[in-house]
């Protein structure tokens, strides 16, 4: 994925369609803590790097990798090593 090309940076909110295939709850308003720098913000406010294969979300503060969701012929991969925790709004 060419996730370093700034020209492709969007807002995390734009990744909502792809992430809705993985998360049952509304994901863009969930608060997510970056494991690299500890800053907390809504998933919709992260930097979104769109690629044909999937989604890369980076921290708005430190640009650390927070979440990757990739679609492959063998299934969908979700990698969240860079996210310390997530908090979803009460239903």
């Amino acid at each position: 994925m060419t996730d370093d090309d700034l020209a492709f940076a969007l807002d995390g909110n734009a990744a909502a369609g792809a992430l809705r295939e993985l998360f049952a709850a509304e994901i863009t308003t969930a608060q997510i803590e970056c494991d690299t720098c500890g800053s907390v913000g809504a998933v919709g406010s992260l930097r979104f790097y769109a690629a044909p294969m999937g989604v890369v979300l980076r921290c708005n503060n430190c640009a650390g990798l927070v979440l990757r969701a990739v679609r492959t012929p063998h299934g969908r991969w979700l990698e969240m090593r860079g996210a310390h925790c997530m908090r979803f709004a009460p239903a």
């Binding site: 969007l10 734009a14 509304e26 308003t29 913000g41 809504a42 919709g44 769109a50 709004a89």
Partner: protein, 256 residues
Amino acid sequence: MTAIEPQAIPARRLEWRRAKARQVITETPRVKSLLLDVAGWPGHLPGQHVDVRLTGEDGYQAQRSYSIASPAEDTLVALTVERVKNGEVSPYLVDEIRMDDQFELRGPIGGYFVWTVAMGGPLCLIAAGSGIAPLMAMLRHRERQSADVPSVLLYSARSLEDAIYREELDAMAHRNPALRVVGALTRRQAEGWTGYRRRVDRSMLADTCFPPDRAPRIFVCGPTPFVEDVSSFLIELGHDASMIKTERFGPTGEPA
């Protein structure tokens, strides 16, 4: 951080639905609004978007995201689409779609870039070009709710002819003194134009947007460079980053 507690948005399975064009409105030479009858549409919140999927006769599929421009109160779903040169989806939506034509869409998507009257204000909306679409859904919703939330729209367009929803916005502001609509024309200004004659800059934002001590909820939508500039100006002016929500267009210029 002072997070805005969003209202809980019920999660629904995201499925492709059939959309039928009920009305096509020419907004500007490059922009049309499609009023769509969407099978099983569950309703939406102002600011949300949809994914549109077109399938060619050979099975090739192209997908793009478009903001919903209609208020939550409407049954038809309005998409306002700008024709992008060499685009895969927008030329079809702008030039080819006729009444009763059908295509697939899924949504509503995205609960982050959302404003409802219940969230309160003051409300500061800043748009460039077709970035006005999701903000228009908010303004239309605000009017349908007869809300007096103090609001300002700062809208940048290349020329008066390129300004979308011009008459509706003027009428809306005329009907409601709590709403102020400010235009900035960047390339060509009609004779007698009394609005701004330049791109949105820091002093323009300081003059039009509510000051930071009133803690306005700010929504910015437009091409990526516009959104980045405006966000940094707003931060420099002292607005809290958590109060600024942004929606950038994709690299092709299509709303993403």
